[in-house]
Every structure is written in structure tokens, then in C-alpha cells.
Amino acid sequence: MVVWEGPGAAAPAAVELDQSLLEAKLSIPQPRPGSVSRAPIIDATRAGGCRVVGVTAPAGYGKTTLLAQWALAEDRPVGWVSLDRYDDDPAVLLTLLASAFARVSPDNAGLAADMGGLCVDVLGRAAPRLAAAFRSSPEPFVLMVDDLHELHASACHDALGVAISGIPDGSQLVAASRFEQPHLPRLRASGEAVELDADDLALDETGAEQIFAEARIGISHELAAAVTERTEGWPVGLYLAAVIAGHDRDRGLEVSGDDRYVADYLYRESLMLMPKKTQRFLRRTAVLDQLCAPLCDAVMGESGGQARLRALEASSSFLIPLDRRREWFRYHALYREFLLAELRRVEPEVLVKLHLRAADWYESNGSPALAVEHLLNTTAGDRCVQLVTALVLPTYNAGQMSTVQRWLSTLGDSAVEGYPPLAVLAGWVTALTGQTAAAERWAAIVDAASFDQVPVDGTASFDSGRAMLRAVMCASGPEQMMVDANAAVAQEPTWSPWLDTAVLLSAHAHLLAADLDEARVLFVEAVSIGATLGNTDTVVDGEAELALLAMDHGRWPEATERVERALAVVDEHRLYDYAVSVLAFAAAARLAVHRGDLEAADRQLAQAMRARPSCTFVLPFFAVRARLQLAKAYSTRGDQATARHLLREIDEILRHRPALGALVDQVSEVRQTVAANAQSAATRAAPLTGAELRLLPYLQTHLTIGAIGQRLFVSRNTVSSEIASIYRKLGVSSRNDAVQQATRIGLLGG
């Protein structure tokens, strides 16, 4: 629950490095002078006007060149995204698409921020929000996505599919990938997409002649035709043939085939033509996803990277500049794979050392997340685990949940268990995202673990971190929670980034013990520390609780002020789907009911109901308190039925966590109030359950019931019964209508 500021003084550099890498991903690459013109294909595809264009061909077919030439020739504004393997995360992907779109559509400056936010519901909120922004673009645009094959996570393709549905007629999304693009077949069937494949991209003898001419090798028309036929028009094959022919004419012209072995052979031939030192430079820097001169120097352990990169850029087409200032480069993908294979063949012993040096450079230049990616390739497990421990919460807070999950799963459960402070964080992450089974498992592991060094996540000690996790999960009842929370408060020093969390938990423990005065004092303290530390969730939760306490005592002006403060933080940081925000929405609803502003009350109630699935029994007092407030608000609004459904959910939570102190009595009180209050005449349909709310976003996709079940780890039966239930509650009978109705009542979209 901590916003982490990066390692000390390196923070500004971090921002700069991340910024220039982002800049590189979003800039349109300049087509290489002299590359074969793709104008006929580009013109035909533009004239075709399909909303979605797929360019699908193996490496070396000039996909990026085609896109870059198109971008240059295009008269509509063009947004560009180059994906890499770190973008295999739906929140990251949508943020990149939104950033690229914001460049061509200045009205949408805040769009990228809407894609992120703590625990944002990517498929249910961010993706439809992006689709809506596409749809309402006042002028047509073209969005180009290169290297789509870097996306493996099905969540990415689901989100992309929803976003693509918003591309309006007259605009185009052009995506290049080595593999089949999952969204294409369906769109092609309905005539909304067109696909260019390897056959379309293969060069003819005119192209071959141009490539040889560029390499200053004169060949006859017949010879060009023969080489084209032997390479089957594979552009990289032709290019390599020309390079080799420049040294040994006959060998170059004998080249044939387009498979990987031939590619490796050709690359090796071309590599052998270079000086030994250059060969070594190429081989060793291939461990880098992107290169800049200082990084190359660090990895090589020598200077002169700048001159070498410039020379390579001038002499070969395998080094691709990523930004306008020509500071960042990457190797052509196929070439890099070859170089890495060479590295493993020639000097496998240096591989780990190179990754370590790259990690050092990224860490000291303030980009620890990229350092982690290199460390994951090494045997330096301890260092990697420690770095991940320090990064889990900031990355998580940035909404990049799948990145954290990828780290944790790449490290493996046993590595996480091996460093108990990281297991504590895994417990927090799983609890705050409503992964109940995993959270309970981590809690058990943490309970059994011991660790006597100083953890690197900023907590005072492992015991203190563990006490806080135990307190928030409250598995052993309120007395133990009080002991744990107070132990953490006692241990965390005044400068600790976890102090506000400890104080907040202590406040909650006092609330459960019905010691309202002390709870109030502690909430005030937690909010003030949290605000200083910039810990948004402490502020949201503390202000919401203080507002509710104020309402209980009739201090409405104070309550108003506090609710406004909590909601302002929720808005600013897009915490709409976050477990802690549910209580803030509930408090706002209660306030609105009191003011008689029923429209505002319904809006806040809808927000709270939508966010509540993340608030589960592993955060028992949050989950029960929030639902209790909601039940009260609905009951006062005259909707006893919804109040009763919420009470039923509370029963479920109490089944797992029966000991919740004063809350249990409050539940009985509310139950009596609900029974006594009259149901207003109009009975509304029952609210969607948490499971139904989690399923709802998938109705926007074209996934089958079975596939949805796989995404959610539930059975086919469960999915079909939940879908029937969603339709019944929304009063619809088709998937489209369900999506439209859910969007209308604020359960989908941003």
C-alpha cells in the first residue's frame, strides 16, 4: 500500500530514461532511404478502406518498413506504437494505444491516465473507454501497431479486440505481426478487415534489382529474376544476397530459400565479413532489447559504443533507430535472434555477466523494472528477488498487475517463499485484488516463515510486515488484529513508508473493538501521514471512515468535506475499481441520500456496487463495512431487496470470518432495520453478484462460453448460468443488448 519513489537520487534520471524509451516506442520510424517502395500495396489497402488492416508475415518481410512508408505517405494523422515483450500486459498495452491516439487527437490528453489506475478493470472499464474515444474522434485517423506478436497474454488480445471495435469507418488500425492475429478472422468474415500476408510482401525482380542497385551491384534482369525465385522474394534474403554478392559475386547469387537455416547461414556469412571486434560487439549487445551508447559501453565494459552504433546504423539495415534523436536503437528481430544464438554458441559463459551488467546499468540509471527483466535471465536469484520486492508495490500501484504477476511467476513460488518479505507482498497483492485462495495460501506461508534481516520493501522488519498482512486479513479475529496492528505501529519508525498503513490498521482494529474515539484519532493520524507520503489508499480509506463517523454523530459539514476529499483522490488516481474505494462511494451515497440528492446517491451506489467484487473475505472488515453501508443506503432509498442481497453477501463473508467484533452487532442492527423498512412499490431486479460482474466485461468480446470459463477459471456450467442470470437481471435476451444495457446503467465503460 505504498507509493514508492525509486531508489534515492536517481529518480529524475528514471523519469528521463522511461520517458525517452516511451518516446521511442511512440515515434514513427523513418523508412530507410533506398528501401523498396511499397506504394502499390499501401495505396490499394488505403483505398480499400477497411477499418482494420493486418500485416501478417514471418520476420524479414519488411512489415515495419511497409508501415513506416505508409505513415509517411498518409494524409490522415498517424499514431504509432512499437510493442516489445514488456508490453504483454493489458493495462500497459491500452496505455500505449491511448498515448499514441492522444498524439493524433489532442482532445484526449487525459486518456492514457484513464487506462491505468490501481487495479483498474481493464476489460470492463479501460478498453470500452478507449473504444468510445476512438468512436468519437472528430476526424479520421490511422493507428499503427508494430510487432503485435509480442502479445501472448489472452487478456491483451481480449482488450485489444474490444478497443478495435471502436475504430470508426474512415479510420484504420494497422497491425503488423509475425503470427496470426486473433482478432482478424472474425472481422475479415464480416468484411471489416483486410490482411496482407507474406505473398503480398514478397518482392519481385524489380525489387531485387533495386536492392542490388542500392548495394552498387549490377545484375541483369534474368539474374535478378533467378535470385528472386530462389529467395522466393523474401526481402531479407535478397538484401543478404546483395551484401554477400558485394564481396563474392557468385556466392551471393547462389543464395536460395527463406527458411531459418538459410537465414542463419546468410547472417553468419554477412557477420564474417565484419571485423572481429564488431562481431563481438554485435553478439554481446544482442542481449539488450534496446540499445543506447552508454548502455552498450556498460555491457561491453569498454567505451566507443557511440561511434560503433553510428557506423552500424550507416552500414547495415539491421540496426533500427527508435527515436528522432537517434539515441536508442534495436536490432532487427530476426537478426537479434541470430546474434543471440551466435552468442550462446561462441561464448555462452559471458551471457550471465552481460545480463548482470545490463541490470547494473538500468538500476543505476533509475529503471529498476528493466533491471529485473535482465536479472530474470541470470542465476542472481537473490538480487532479483530483492529488486522485485522493492518494485512490487510501485509497479502494482501503477496498475501493471500482470507485470507483477509475471515477475512472481517467473521467479516461481519457491523463490518467493524463499524470501519471506516478498511472500508478504504477494499476500497483499492477492488480497487487494480479491484472489482469495492465493491470498490465504500466502498468509499461511508467511505465518510459518521467519526472517531476521532488514527487508528491502521499506518495512521496519519482517515481523512488522507480517503483522500488517495478518491484521488486514483479520483471520484470527479482532483481538489478534489489535495486537498485530499495534505491534506494527510500535515497530515502524516515523520515517517508514508503511507507518500510515500500520496506523490505519490500528484504527480499524479500534473500530472493531467499538472504541470509536481512539479509532477517530488514529484515522486522523493515518490520513495526515498518508497524505505526506502520497499513499493514496490510506487517504481514501481514512477520509471515508472519518466521514462515516462524522455522519453517525450528525456532523454533516465535516462529513461532506471528507467525502469530497476521498472522492477527489479516487478521481485523480482512477481508483474506481479498487477495493478500498467501495467504502468511499458508499459514504458518498449516504451523504447524497441525506442531502436528498437521490440522483447523485444512485450514481454513487452504482459505482460502489460495480467496484465491490474486489472487496472479498480476505479483506473482511473492509468487505463487511462497505456492504453494510451500502445496505443501509439502499434501505433508506426504499430498496429493501437490494439491501437484502447485500446482507446475503455479508453472510457469505461472515461464514469465512465469523469473528469481526462490533461489526457483527452492526450487521444484526441493519438486518432489523431492513426488515422493518417498507419496500418501495417498484421492485428492481436483483443486483449483479460479484461473479456476474467479473464475467460481464467478457460479454463485449467474441469469446465462447467455454473460453470465458477458461479466462475466469470457472466451469462452463457456471458461466452459462451466470450469463442467463445477467440477462434476466438486465432484462435483455442477447449479448449485444446486455453490453448496451450494462453500459447504460454504468456497469461497463469508464
Partner: protein, 117 residues
């Protein structure tokens, strides 16, 4: 209209009695003051559903209606047990997984989970 009159007219298959007793959907019952509370009515309907052997969506609708009327999940499940002497165990065995799905639990699937899963 007293209950004897209702019984007599029902025995004659008097279509009109339904409208007279239940009233139209959105107004108060016309002929008969409701004696059973909403919660009991919802539970009785659920019991009848078990007897006639409904499908999952019907169980979903009836279970939601029961919760709407203030029944707890435990009470809803107790209905299943209560009707066994009349409808027999096989009927209830057929109903149980459907009601479970309606309450958000897939018992068939739960049986299939390996011990550590």
C-alpha cells in the same frame, strides 16, 4: 372471498379465480388479503420448483426472489431438505446442483477439483 370459496372455484377450474385471487401483476390482490408473507411465498414457490424439476435459470429467478423477500441462503437450502419426504430424494438430488449454480456454486465442478487445487 374466503378460502372455502377459493377452494371451490379452483376445484371447478374457474380461470377467473386466478385473476381474482392474485390480482393483476402490479396491483394489490383483489379478492384475497395476503396472509402468507412474501418470504414464505418465495420459499413455497421454490419448493414447487423442486417438485416439478425446473432448469437453472428458473432456480436463479426463484432464489433471487427469495433473497429479495428476506430469505437467507441457509433457509433456501433448507427448503430442499424439507421437501424430501414428499418429492423423494432423487428429485432433490437433481435440484441441488441447479440451485447451487443459482447461488453461485458449481458443486459438480467442486467435486472434480484435485485435493490440493
Amino acid at each position: 372471498m374466503d378460502y372455502i370459496a377459493v377452494l371451490r372455484r379452483l376445484s371447478l377450474h374457474d380461470d377467473q379465480v386466478v385473476a381474482d385471487v392474485l390480482g393483476s401483476a402490479d396491483t394489490q390482490p383483489a379478492g384475497l388479503d395476503p396472509i402468507l408473507d412474501e418470504r414464505t411465498v418465495a420459499l413455497v414457490r421454490l419448493a414447487a420448483l423442486v417438485a416439478v424439476g425446473g432448469a437453472v435459470p428458473s432456480y436463479g429467478a426463484q432464489a433471487d426472489a427469495a433473497v429479495d423477500a428476506g430469505a437467507t441462503a441457509a433457509e433456501i437450502v433448507e427448503v430442499l431438505v424439507a421437501v424430501i419426504p414428499v418429492v423423494g430424494l432423487p428429485c432433490v438430488v437433481a435440484a441441488a446442483p441447479k440451485l447451487a449454480l443459482a447461488l453461485g456454486q458449481d458443486v459438480d465442478d467442486a467435486f472434480g477439483i484435485p485435493p490440493d487445487g
